[in-house]
């Protein structure tokens, strides 16, 4: 109720089991960033095997040991299962424990109620439960590395029957996923109710900042797409723990043994449908909040309204809806007939249209601007071409005919990494730099920010650009050693280049890590609105107290009233009526 009351809380209630959306948002942000770093570290080890197959992993090889790294005559080398486990867990950690918790759990929790002028989330306790469910899911996933047989190693897609017969790590993966899904459901219910019911007076739907729209659509995706995966997870758990045969057909022969003790009669394709029913919307769960952040940062730093705000909103809603009916384009190679393949090719082409509209609106917003090259703006601007490359390279994968050659090759890896790594991750960095002053009252160092941006920008392209060529050459993903195959050996040089870029990219994150912690304590102190922004979050004190706003804000105008002619400053806050 009162501020004083909140300050009376013991430490563990205030910062650990907190119900304050800002604390939860920061908890999410920090946990998710740790997971992102872990996910990146995992892939750095994989990249050594890819670049120098079968050779001794220097320095850390000996430390890893266990089920991931085995000792051979050439030294400490990744095992096949270890490689697959790293691959599966890299995907899982990056998506479910890194990007989504950061984009939705972190930024959504911290920024959304502030932008809505709300004192907190609609259900603060559910919000806390959501974070701790996520945390528990993360712990289960991490613990799976230490069980017999190592972590899940059937790919992040966990296709049965392989996943049905995999080691214990897969069971833990499934339990972890159930926890993460629960967390997402709690979070998304909270976001939707907060957005619709707890917004400030005067903040009608078309006065929402674009970020709010992005989070709202994302929440609906999480709410409706995750349950089928939960169902699939339960079914796979039953297969693994109760010997059912949901995904196992009759007459399986595993390692030369006829499986007579299972009933059979299931279908491996069933899993793929249930899985991709989630996993395609999940792509938009990864990208929409990023678009939201980029929209905010661009509007703020171009000092003009976003061009085509309504088109942006409708395109986002349409994108969200369409994302539910394109999923089978991940399954073109399962032997699909003409009708279905045409349907899914068509929906896939249709879904590219709103993406094009969004990108067009963003780039036309630059026209007539007065661009401030702040660090968040650099990341947001870099996002645009990277996202464009990611989007364009989706085209050949969305058409069955070209997909025949490119399906499951590095081209796919390049494509979706361009969307989520230089795409979403750059947007998330923009968000961290942009809202850091709101969370701490201090700005992150500009110099270190630029030192972070430029090498990251160069090396991230160094990692993923070669992948299009590697994929074009036909090299398949999830290959422990691509030189085992003739076409893989031919482009091994590019793989080496990608690996070195990845390691340099890892080093390029050091300025950020230093900057982040240094700026919490030593960063330049700034006021409530250092970016001269218009949206409501900037009119709460920095950092905002429990309950956020000193007086409940009332909204008078749209979200991006920058450089309005005839006004005395170049920005008109939402909670201040425009001068006549």
């Amino acid at each position: 109720m009162s501020e004083a009351h909140a300050h009376d809380l013991p430490f563990w209630r205030k910062y650990v089991f907190s119900v304050d959306h800002k604390v939860i948002g920061i908890q999410y942000t920090i946990t998710a960033m740790l997971f992102l770093f872990l996910g990146f570290s995992l892939v750095s080890i994989m990249r050594y095997q890819l670049a120098y197959p079968g050779r001794d992993i220097p320095v850390i090889g000996k430390l890893l040991g266990g089920s991931i790294v085995g000792q051979t005559e050439t030294g400490y080398v990744l095992t096949g299962d270890g490689y697959n486990a790293l691959g599966a867990m890299h995907g899982t950690i990056m998506i479910f424990l890194g990007v989504v918790p950061l984009a939705v759990g972190g930024f959504g929790n911290f920024v959304l109620p502030l932008q809505l002028g709300a004192p907190d989330m609609a259900f603060p306790k559910l919000n806390m439960a959501s974070y701790w469910s996520f945390f528990a899911g993360g712990v289960v996933m991490l613990a799976s590395f230490f069980v017999k047989g190592g972590a899940a190693n059937s790919g992040w897609t966990s296709y049965p029957p392989l996943a049905d017969i995999a080691t214990t790590g897969q069971t833990m993966w499934l339990f972890g996923m159930v926890l993460l899904i629960t967390s997402s459901l709690l979070g998304s219910i909270n976001f939707i109710v907060t957005t619709v019911q707890v917004r400030a007076k005067g903040l009608s739907f078309f006065r929402f900042p674009f970020f709010v729209w992005a989070q709202l659509v994302t929440s609906f995706l999480l709410l409706l797409a995750f349950p089928p995966l939960e169902a699939a997870g339960v079914l796979q758990l039953m297969d693994r723990l109760a010997d059912t045969s949901f995904f196992l057909p009759s007459g399986l022969v595993v390692s030369g043994e006829v499986q007579t003790q299972i009933s059979g009669g299931g279908s491996p394709l069933l899993w793929q449908h249930l899985f991709w029913f989630l996993a395609h919307p999940e792509v938009y769960v990864l990208i929409l909040p990023a678009l939201g952040i980029v929209g905010e940062v661009i509007a703020n730093n171009t000092r003009k309204p976003l061009w085509g705000y309504k088109s942006l909103v409708f395109a986002t809603i349409f994108l969200g809806f369409m994302s539910f009916i394109v999923w089978a384009h991940h399954m073109f190679m399962t032997g699909m007939g003409q009708t279905l393949s045409t349907f899914f090719q068509a929906t896939t082409m249709i879904i590219s249209v709103p993406s094009v509209i969004i990108l067009t609106c963003m780039i036309i917003s630059l026209w007539g601007a007065a661009i401030r090259y702040t660090v968040p703006m650099l990341f947001a601007l870099a996002f645009l071409p990277m996202f464009a490359i990611g989007g364009l390279t989706g085209l050949p994968l969305g058409l069955t005919t070209s997909d025949i050659q490119l399906h499951d090759t590095y081209y796919v890896i390049g494509h979706f990494h361009y969307v989520v790594a230089p795409g979403t991750l750059f947007a998330l960095f923009a968000g961290v730099y942009y809202w850091f002053p709101k969370a701490t009252g201090r700005k992150m160092s500009d110099f270190l920010g630029k030192l972070h941006f430029w090498p990251s920008f160069i090396f991230i392209n160094g990692v993923f650009l070669p992948m299009f060529f590697i994929g074009m050459a036909g090299v398949l993903r999830r290959q422990f050693d691509q030189t085992e195959q003739l076409h893989g050996a031919a482009v091994q040089g590019l793989t080496v280049m990608a690996s070195w870029s990845a390691w340099l990219l890892l080093i390029s994150q050091l300025p950020f890590i230093f900057n982040f912690f240094w700026s919490i304590f030593r960063g330049q102190k700034v006021g409530a609105n250092p970016w001269e922004a218009t949206t409501l979050e900037w009119f709460a004190p920095s950092p905002p107290p429990h309950g956020n706003f000193a007086t409940t804000p009332v909204v008078y105008c749209g979200p991006y009233e920058y450089s309005v002619p005839g006004q005395k400053s170049d920005f008109c806050p939402q909670n201040v009526a425009l001068e006549a």
């Binding site: 449908h273 399954m331 699909m336």
Partner: protein, 110 residues
């Protein structure tokens, strides 16, 4: 939404009627179930009765009749996605006709 206690009192009778209808429909569906109708008819009748019962529960017990549109739209979205989830996999399962082999011998046919 019924708010005052008088309005609620008027609803009490509805609740008992709905309860009675649900019980009767349950008996009907069981009886029909034992008549061994052709499978298509049996499915149609059973699903029809189930939908009827379901809408009674949703409309009156869950007061959906007196809610605003927003819930309908969200539920309609769910129903649409559910139908997609039902229809699309069945098409991938059954559309391709591969009965074109030289001889019907196969190690593990479906």
């Amino acid at each position: 939404m019924a708010s005052s206690s008088e309005e609620v009192r008027k609803h009490l009778k509805t609740y008992y009627i709905v309860f009675g209808s649900l019980a009767v429909l349950t008996i009907v569906t069981v009886t029909v179930g034992f008549m061994h109708l052709p499978i298509a008819v049996a499915v149609a009748v059973a699903m029809l009765i189930a939908c009827l019962k379901g809408s009674l529960v949703a409309s009156f017990f869950m007061h959906l009749v007196s809610e605003r549109g927003i819930i309908f739209w969200i539920l309609a979205l769910c129903v649409f996605f559910f139908l997609m989830l039902l229809l699309v996999p069945s098409l991938t399962f059954f559309e391709p006709d591969y009965s074109d082999f030289v001889d019907g011998v196969s190690g593990s046919g479906r």
